[in-house]
């Protein structure tokens, strides 16, 4: 059994590296230029998942994640909590509901989200397309990247969008947040509800 495992790993490992830029899956999402994504979002924030639980919402299995806002970019406040919902989740008896392209969230995850506001919370725009991951380097720098797994990208006309064109890989968080703020500043004043952008 161990031998089998080893062989599998050794053969899988090179493929992991080769394929990591081109992955996608069945959920079809709209991919728009970054400024448009920023302006389309009701809420934009960098934060951390502090709690997750699977819920059944109108017959759907959803993961309800509580996200603590660490940097408020748009229409939220630092240290507040966002109730975030994504499709899929773990059910009793090992049943799992998975939606391709939907981010799988767990406690401690750091994310940078472009959200659509719903009555009882927020959802990311375009599943993982609108919920970027943030990782910390060993030196403590925070870096943003976008998971492309499980997604098929199209533009507003339904034409395919190259994953290469929307790839975000290892962008420093500060740089990325500044870039998003810049996108927003071009369409109006800085969000007054965001104390991280305006000193009280």
């Amino acid at each position: 059994m161990v031998y089998v495992y080893r062989m599998l790993f050794l053969t899988l490992a090179p493929t992991l590296v080769l394929l990591h830029t081109e992955a996608a899956w069945g959920s079809v999402v709209l991919a728009v230029p970054e400024p448009e994504l920023a302006r389309a979002a009701d809420v934009i924030a960098f934060g951390q998942i502090v709690h997750t639980q699977t819920e059944i919402a109108d017959g759907r299995v959803v993961t309800h994640a509580t996200m603590q806002v660490l940097d408020a970019i748009w229409h939220t406040t630092v240290k507040s909590f966002l109730e975030l919902y994504v499709p899929g989740g773990n059910l009793p008896n090992r049943l799992v509901a998975t939606a391709p392209g939907a981010p799988r969230l767990k406690n401690g995850d750091m994310v940078f989200g472009f959200f659509q506001k719903l009555e009882n919370g927020v959802v990311p725009l375009g599943l993982s397309y609108g919920l970027l991951r943030v990782r910390s380097t060993q030196s403590g720098d925070l870096r943003v990247y976008r998971e492309l797994d499980g997604l098929q990208f199209v533009d507003r006309s339904g034409n395919p969008v190259s994953t290469e064109s929307i790839k975000i890989a290892d962008v420093p968080l500060k740089e990325f947040a500044a870039r998003i703020r810049q996108h927003l500043s071009s369409v109006g004043p800085v969000d007054p509800s965001s104390p991280s952008t305006v000193k009280q």
Binding site: L12, T15, A102, G150, V154
Partner: protein, 721 residues
């Protein structure tokens, strides 16, 4: 070298679990390429009598769409029929899908999701729904998501229970056309020349590939090519999809009396000779439960048919069996990917050290545990290194070493000394319990505050603003339905202006766990910084000596051995505190010594001596302990003073003791204060003994742990003024 005791259930079979692998595989130079994802439907023979039934949401699809319902249903039915009628030479796939309206004239009066659950989230009944959603709802397509398919399955066996396909009908327009009996019907719906007009048939054909368990391939002519235009019209399956569906659902052998390979079964006796009925094994009656399917036992993948790999079920004493996977499937026949997008530019896993329960949760597929219960995602490594034999050459991140396993040829990166907290911190997962996560200096200068993430299970909670700053620290997360695990901790939904615990309220549904401290007890660490009502946390000069003091004055009297004395802080606030009569001065105040129980890490003989009511034995010694998360390593106090002698005592490691994680002091149990009779140097000068330290007389209020926490500050957020 310390050896990682690699549990067989994780280490040796994880890569072959029926995991949902979201990658695409390379296209073969010639011939078909397909990608079995690992999940699949198991048909019950005869398939014609037991089809996978899909349910079109009749009213949902006819309201907003300018497409007659019958034509819309036909368009979608044609999509899945193309898969079912693929030519497998000879025969067709052992697969049967029908829709309820067309086949059974079923009238669906409501637009419900079809699946029902009981109060414990157990799936009671399910239906496979085709749904054109007309408003944003939780769990459905958001306004950027064109179409979404959700499968519910047993991931360990790949047995699919139900699948729902949703089309976004509130943000996008749809069109349909189809050919029936040589006659073109349509086009219906929006104009193909207009923007946001998506072809239902094309999207559905692609989605049904996923519905049946196939993933993307990088063949530009394939239906399962991930970058196909949603406005295009697919004529039908290509050689890639045909090979894939015929391999996953091989044509039924008519000579088989009961169940054929990959068909549903309840017990092995139903399967062809030499095959087993493999189940998730979690149902109450595994002999008769119907969630099994017939497959071939194996010991390695070469014994499996094409399109199947050899794997087993984690935690189950079941034989290894052949399950759908990348094995002779065209391009990249020896690979299949995994964790795409979760590796950095060097292909390094991004979630090393993350807690896990299965390889599917890890970027590189390795969820490994050791004999202490630590179970994390990690990566393989070369113990000798590629450059001459040092750990740094092994490919492991800093603070990790390359350790061998029970198989000498397999090595994994592992946190040095098995310290999960160190592991997490080394990869920057977040601040540990009691560490600073937020600081606002209270000035108008830029770059004067920061906010940084806490580790798993922790939340950043603000403390009462001191006169100089507002700070927050990482404490264990809780809410009204998730109480604190430690019996002596209380869920506080904020800290009020007096430094007290805020009870649950509608405005603050999220909270942190605190040990409410009594007069005389240390309040240095963040989770111990809340003093009981009528008292506050103060220190004189040295923050590491902060304790809870009772307030006095205005009717609040002190104990007979105390006197009420006024002190001011650097912001001209005045506090009246009860002080020990024998030591009180303008620069010194000792609270009443009412410390009756020990903190975590202090030597004990029985649980009642501990404020956690938990005295445990480990390695022949006893110490007060508390529950922690053995997987993440989080939940223990940091390097704090546990016995009140003014010196830090070395911190804790969350160890698996018994069946649960327990905090154990790294330097061993610490003697209770006064029991060691040692005089140690105080950080602020002077000499401490028996809980009395002479220090300088600066009074601060509630923020005693601030200097400690600032020592670890590393991320500052610039403010825009």
């Amino acid at each position: 070298m310390r050896w990682v005791t690699c549990l067989v259930i994780f280490c040796c079979v994880t890569p072959a679990l029926a995991q949902i692998d979201n990658s695409a595989i390379e296209c073969a130079d010639n011939g078909p390429t397909f990608f079995p994802r690992g999940d699949h439907w198991a048909m019950t023979p005869p398939a014609a009598s037991n089809p996978i039934q899909i349910r079109h949401q009749k009213d949902g699809s006819s309201q907003a769409l300018a497409i007659p319902i019958s034509d819309l249903i036909k368009t979608i039915n044609i999509a899945h029929t193309k898969w079912q009628t693929a030519s497998c030479s000879p025969g067709t796939p052992n697969l049967k899908v029908e829709d309820g309206i067309t086949s059974y004239s079923v009238n669906y009066p409501t637009r419900d999701r079809g699946d029902t659950y009981d109060g414990n989230k157990n799936l009671i009944s399910s239906q496979n729904i085709i749904y054109f959603i007309q408003q944003a709802v939780v769990g459905g397509p958001d306004r950027f998501t064109v179409a979404l398919t959700t499968n519910t399955m047993y991931p360990d066996t790949g047995f699919t229970i139900t699948s729902d396909m949703e089309f976004n009908d509130y943000s996008f327009d749809w069109r349909a056309q189809y050919t029936e009996s040589g006659t073109l019907h349509g086009p219906f719906g929006c104009s193909a020349s207009s923007v946001t007009c998506y072809d239902i048939g094309s999207v559905a054909l692609h989605e049904f590939g996923h519905f049946f368990g196939l993933n993307h391939v990088q063949c530009t002519d394939a239906v399962m090519y991930p970058q196909a235009a949603s406005t295009a019209q697919f004529a039908g399956l290509t050689i890639h999809e045909t090979a894939g569906i015929c391999t996953l659902y091989p044509p039924r052998n008519a000579a088989v009396a009961d169940r054929d390979r990959v068909e549903q079964c309840a017990q092995t006796s139903q399967c062809p000779n030499g095959q087993v009925c493999i189940k998730s094994g979690i149902l109450s009656n595994p002999t008769t439960s119907a969630d099994g399917w017939c497959t071939t036992p194996c010991s390695n993948t070469s014994q499996c048919p094409d399109g199947f790999v050899c794997g087993t079920i984690s935690g189950q004493n079941t034989p290894s069996f052949c399950k759908p996977g990348v094995h002779n499937t065209g391009g990249a026949t020896t690979g299949g990917g995994g964790g795409t997008g979760t590796t950095d530019n060097n292909g390094q896993s991004l979630d090393i050290c993350s807690p896990c329960s299965a390889g599917t949760q890890c970027a590189n597929g390795e969820c490994i545990s050791d004999n202490t219960g630590l179970q994390i995602c990690t990566i393989a490594c070369l113990p000798g290194g590629v450059g001459g034999g040092t750990t740094n050459d092994s490919g492991c991140p800093n603070n990790m070493e390359c350790l061998g396993t029970s198989d000498p040829s397999v090595n994994f990166c592992w946190p040095i000394n098995g310290d999960a907290t160190s592991c997490a911190q080394s990869t920057g997962v977040g601040r540990a319990l009691n560490e600073l996560c937020f600081s606002n200096q209270g000035t108008t200068a830029t770059d004067d505050d920061f906010f940084t993430p806490c580790g798993p299970d922790l939340v950043c909670v603000d403390f009462k603003p001191s006169c100089q700053s507002q700070v927050g620290a990482c404490v264990l997360y809780c809410n009204q339905s998730l109480p604190c695990a430690a019996p002596n901790q209380q869920c506080c939904f904020g800290i009020d202006d007096n430094g007290g615990c805020v009870p649950p309220n509608a405005q603050s549904p999220h909270g942190g766990c605190y040990t409410i401290r009594h007069e005389g007890e240390s309040c240095v660490t963040a989770e111990q910084s809340v003093c009981e009502q009528g008292s506050g946390c103060f220190f004189f000069g040295d923050a590491t000596t902060a304790k809870c003091y009772s307030f006095c004055g205005a009717g609040d009297a002190c104990d007979s051995s105390q006197q009420c004395h006024s002190y001011g802080d650097s912001c001209s606030n005045v506090y009246n505190l009860c002080c020990d009569k024998d030591t009180v001065s303008n620069t010194q105040c000792e609270p009443l010594k009412t410390v009756a129980t020990y903190d975590v890490g202090v030597r004990c003989s029985k649980s009642s001596e501990c404020n956690t009511n938990m005295c445990i034995q480990y390695n022949g010694e006893n110490a007060c302990s508390r529950i922690c998360n053995a997987v993440t390593g989080y939940g223990c106090p940091g390097n704090v003073d546990v016995n009140g002698d003014g010196t830090a005592d070395g911190g804790f490691t969350c160890r698996l003791i018994g069946d649960e994680g327990r905090c154990w002091p790294n330097a061993g149990p610490v003697a209770p204060l006064g029991h060691d009779n040692q005089c140690v140097a105080a950080p602020g000068g002077g000499c401490c003994s028996d809980n009395k330290c002479e220090t300088t007389a600066n009074l601060f209020y509630n923020g005693a742990w601030l200097p400690l926490a600032f020592a670890t500050m590393r991320y500052r957020r610039r403010r825009i003024s």
